[in-house]
């Protein structure tokens, strides 16, 4: 089975923006892959002037929040790194004969790579400009922050509207048959950058089952 991969445009975010950015993106993707019956839930972003849509599934919401928490924790341990989150959709297949016992294998059919460049300091940007030399520049940073926020918001909007929506509608043939008709129909996982953390990334399905693959991300 072919696995479609979408690399989302890298977003420059500050630490405190990670959560909202990831919420917007992850929920938007899941919403488009929740092919079962859903009652969409409109969410006005707390940080951005953006309304995104959740698929109205408490489990999904919980899982995404958990993942975001973990990711933020990871970022704190690994400051100043570009980081990637991978949201994967897969099918579960039973491999029979070749294994000692019935083993379950994940067949990934779609992966979304979310690329974030987390600025260590809010003023990281100012280093480029002369402002940084100012003795005191709280005002400057707020100004820059406003501009930067607007820029990020526009970029985020673009990712949601143009990248995700376009991808989702252009790549439709690889989607496996809908296994169930309730809510989020496909099993998925959210993998974080560090392999050690990846164990957390298992989704409920995965925890119950043994996995053939380590998580995709290194």
């Amino acid at each position: 089975m072919n696995c479609e991969v979408c690399h989302l445009k890298e977003l420059d975010v500050e630490h405190f923006e990670i959560r909202e950015v990831l919420r917007c993106i992850l929920h938007t993707i899941v919403f488009h892959r929740a092919l079962g019956l859903i009652r969409p839930k409109d969410i006005d972003s707390e940080l951005f002037d953006i309304t995104y849509v959740q698929c109205g599934d408490a489990e999904v919401e919980k899982k995404i929040e958990e993942k975001i928490d973990q990711f933020i924790g990871w970022v704190e341990k690994h400051p100043n790194k570009k980081s990637q989150i991978c949201l994967s959709f897969y099918e579960v297949k039973n491999k029979q004969a070749t294994w000692f016992s019935n083993k379950i294998e994940r067949l990934y059919w779609e992966q979304w790579y979310i690329n974030l460049n987390v600025a260590q300091h809010p003023k990281a940007h100012s280093s480029k400009s002369h402002h940084s030399k100012m003795v005191v520049d709280p005002g400057e940073s707020t100004l820059e922050r406003g501009v930067r926020r607007a820029t990020l918001e526009a970029a985020l909007r673009e990712v949601l509207l143009f990248q995700i929506i376009k991808f989702v509608n252009e790549k439709r043939d690889h989607i496996p048959p809908v296994p169930n008709h309730e809510g989020v129909s496909f099993p998925y996982e959210i993998a974080l950058p560090s392999s050690s953390d990846s164990s957390f990334g298992m989704d409920m399905f995965k925890r119950m089952l043994q996995t053939g693959h380590p998580t995709m991300l290194s």
Binding site: T28, F31, H32, A34, L35, G36, L37, I38, R39, P40, D42, D44, D49, I50, T51, Y52, V53, G56, K128, S129, H130, H131, K133, M134, V135, V136, D137, P138, G139, E140, T142, L143, E144, R145, G146, V147, R149, A150, T151, E153, A154, A155, R157, E158, L160, L161, I165, K166, V168, N169, E170, R172, D173, I175, P177, V178, H181, E182, G183
Partner: protein, 688 residues
């Protein structure tokens, strides 16, 4: 309920069940299935669009109907799920309007569906009854729509109150059948039996995308805004559903962007969905208080006036203020521009910044800081790029050459016009003047708290409507600056400190203006370290500042000197000389008029030449005189250009300004409080 025949719903659900069972048994019914899917796709699309654009529908949603059906309560319970929701596995809120339209559309047999979302601007005062009329409007439309295929009935007859309406979005849902190929290709695909299933799945995804897109487009902001605060607003949203496109004019279309969803290809045709929308609300003429506010906020924070205060609360204040304010302003402006034009694009404040640097390098940053403050007001306008402002100002080159003393005249003559005509930032200048001018009582100075307001000015410029606000804001900003001024001037210590720090500037002052420029250059070399800082920009200020410290001159200088910078000063001088030589007799009249105006209005800086000597502190009287003489010459040159009528105009404008200022300056107490603050600032700078 809205579905007239209950049978329809049953059929749908039954059909869907079949689909989900993925039974390929009825190949015969494939075309029928496809047709039904397409029909439902249209219906769902319409529902999604209208649900997120129709104000009445949404309000109804939250109140009555939904509670009855309580769909939200439980998806799981089959009872809560209506057959309609099962289509495309997307449960939507009830939206009577949408359903009405859907019913109507069902009769139209897969014709293209065009949904125009219309922003209606009503006369103010009509809002009170808004709810009822609005619904009427909707109903009216729907009634008209009942007439087949010609739903876009004019609304004009129905709503005399409507001021204007504008189509802000046009959604087109279309099924294009390829009949030519029907015979050949379609057959094979049908035999595959997957076509209805893939169609269903693809259209399901497409509808989710639509659902999200509808919320990401700017019009959704309007919807939300009107929904929340709608009662007060003079805007409303309407929609109409047609089966054909009433084409836009080129101009209209140029304003809009198009987003085309990937069409769903089916054996017998393709299902396509696209939208034309206005990328920004400003082009629509809708100025929502809330939606726009986020855009303004950054400016607000970064506004020039605000920045200085924030930055320099500490002892550093003295130094930073000079450079920073100017700096801040420029930035803010550049930001504004960038934002206004393209929010998405990364604003590049740095470029604008870089230019200023070139000039400032000359000045010694050290000396200047405290003094620079006064200059800011004049600078702001320049940086703003306000068209009106530019017009009134003499060519930058001219102003630059005279930078030190002579410029004074310019500002005087030019400023009034600027103030009068352009209500925006430039206004601030007068306020600053007032503060300086001895004649003006402190009470006239607007109350403090300018910083926040000032920020807005930048943003406000974009909108003419806000001009009045700006005015006030600007003044506020100016007041702050003023206060610093007063503190300096009034406190002998401050002036002394300034002197010491800005020794070179003073010298230059005493000497001829031309020399000043030279000295500046020298200074630059000396002060390079500072200049490197950020503040080339500061440098120009510093010059001005030095002047300021002495007397009223500074402002005029600033106005003249800022832009001109060091560029082609010689050229500027040449221009001046030429102007003087060619000056017509008019100047006499002018000078007279100007003087009279000055006398009448001590506030204006222009007069500064006359009044300055008095005001100016002591040390520089001689220098001032020199400057004055120089200034007179320059002024005459400028004057030549103007007519007596202009002078009168200016006079009037001054008077108006004065009234305004007086009326605003009632809070004398606030002023008093300001003064001490200013002093502290000045001292702090001195100490630094």
């Amino acid at each position: 309920m809205i579905y007239g025949p209950g049978t329809v719903e049953r059929d749908e659900s039954a059909f869907q069940l079949k689909l989900m069972a993925s039974s390929q048994s009825n190949l015969h019914s494939e075309p029928a299935k496809i047709e039904q899917i397409i029909t439902e796709f249209f219906a769902k699309s319409l529902h999604i669009i209208i649900e997120s654009r129709s104000l009445c529908a949404s309000s109804r949603n939250y109140s009555g109907e939904q509670t009855l059906s309580s769909p939200s309560s439980s998806l799981s319970s089959s009872s809560g799920v209506r057959p309609r929701d099962k289509w495309f596995n997307l449960a939507l809120r009830d939206c009577p309007e949408a359903l009405e339209n859907v019913d109507l559309w069902r009769q139209s047999n897969l014709e293209p569906m065009v949904v125009d979302v219309i922003l209606i601007e009503r006369q103010t005062g009509w809002d009170v009854n808004r709810c009822s009329p609005k619904r009427d409007l909707v109903r009216n439309l729907s009634l008209k729509e009942r007439f087949p295929n010609c739903w876009n009935s004019g609304q004009e007859d129905y709503l005399p109150e409507i001021k204007s309406e504008k189509i802000i979005e046009r959604w087109v849902v279309q099924y294009e059948s390829r009949r030519s190929r029907d015979s050949s290709s379609s057959v094979s695909k049908r035999t595959g039996g997957t076509s209805s299933h893939s169609l269903y799945k693809k259209s399901l995804i497409l509808l989710r995308s639509l659902y999200l897109t509808v919320r990401l487009l700017p019009a959704y902001k309007i919807f939300r805004e009107l929904n929340s605060s709608g009662q007060i607003r003079s805007f409303s949203l309407a929609h109409r559903v047609c089966s054909f496109v009433e084409p836009f004019t080129r101009g209209e279309e140029a304003e809009m962007q198009k987003f085309v969803f990937m069409p769903v290809d089916i054996s017998c045709g393709r299902l396509s969905l696209s939208v034309l929308y206005h990328p920004t609300l400003s082009t629509v003429g809708f100025e929502p208080s809330a939606p726009l506010s986020p855009q303004f906020i950054p400016d607000y924070v970064g506004s020039p006036t605000t920045d200085p205060l924030k930055r320099f609360p500490s002892p550093l204040i003295g130094l930073t203020p000079h450079g920073s304010p100017a700096f801040g302003r420029r930035h803010s402006w550049s930001y504004d521009l960038s934002k206004a034009s393209a929010p998405s694009g990364s604003p590049s404040p740095s470029p604008s910044y870089s230019e200023p640097h070139a000039f400032p390098s000359n000045l010694s940053s050290n000396r200047l800081p405290p003094l620079s403050v006064p200059r800011h007001p004049p600078e702001t306008p320049i940086s703003h790029k306000n068209a009106s402002f530019d017009e009134y100002w003499p060519s930058p080159t001219i102003s630059s050459s005279p930078s030190p003393s002579p410029p004074t005249h310019y500002p005087g003559s030019n400023l009034p016009k600027v103030l009068l005509r352009s209500e925006s930032a430039p206004v601030s200048i007068p306020a600053a003047k007032l503060g300086r001018s001895p004649g003006v009582p402190n009470s006239q100075i607007p109350p403090p708290s300018p910083s926040p307001k000032s920020t807005r000015t930048g943003s406000s410029q974009a909108d003419n409507a806000r001009a009045p606000l700006r005015f006030g804001e600007v003044q506020g900003g100016s007041t702050v600056q003023k206060t610093s001024f007063l503190g300096k001037d009034e406190a002998g210590n401050l002036s002394g400190t300034k002197m010491s720090s800005t020794s070179s500037p003073q010298i230059s002052f005493s000497r001829s203006s031309s020399r000043l420029s030279f000295q500046d250059d020298f200074d630059d070399s000396d002060f390079c370290p500072f200049a490197v800082d950020d503040d080339d920009i500061v440098d120009p200020h510093s010059r001005a500042e030095s002047f300021d410290g002495r007397g009223n001159l500074n402002e005029p200088f600033e106005s003249g000197g800022l832009l001109p910078g060091k560029k082609s000063q010689d050229a500027a001088v040449g221009v001046l000389v030429h102007m003087l030589k060619t000056a017509p007799p008019l100047r006499h009249d002018f000078s007279n008029s100007i003087r009279s105006s000055q006398v009448s209005k001590p506030e204006t800086q222009c007069k500064s030449n006359v009044q300055e000597p008095d005001k100016t502190s002591n040390s520089e009287a001689g220098a001032v005189q020199n400057a004055l003489s120089y200034g007179n010459l320059t002024s005459s040159g400028l004057l030549m250009l103007k007519t007596t009528a202009d002078a009168l105009e200016e006079l009037r404008s001054y008077k108006e300004m004065k009234k305004l200022l007086l009326s605003q300056g009632n809070g004398s107490q606030a002023v008093a409080s300001d003064v001490p603050a200013a002093e502290t600032v000045g001292r702090g700078s001195a100490g630094v």
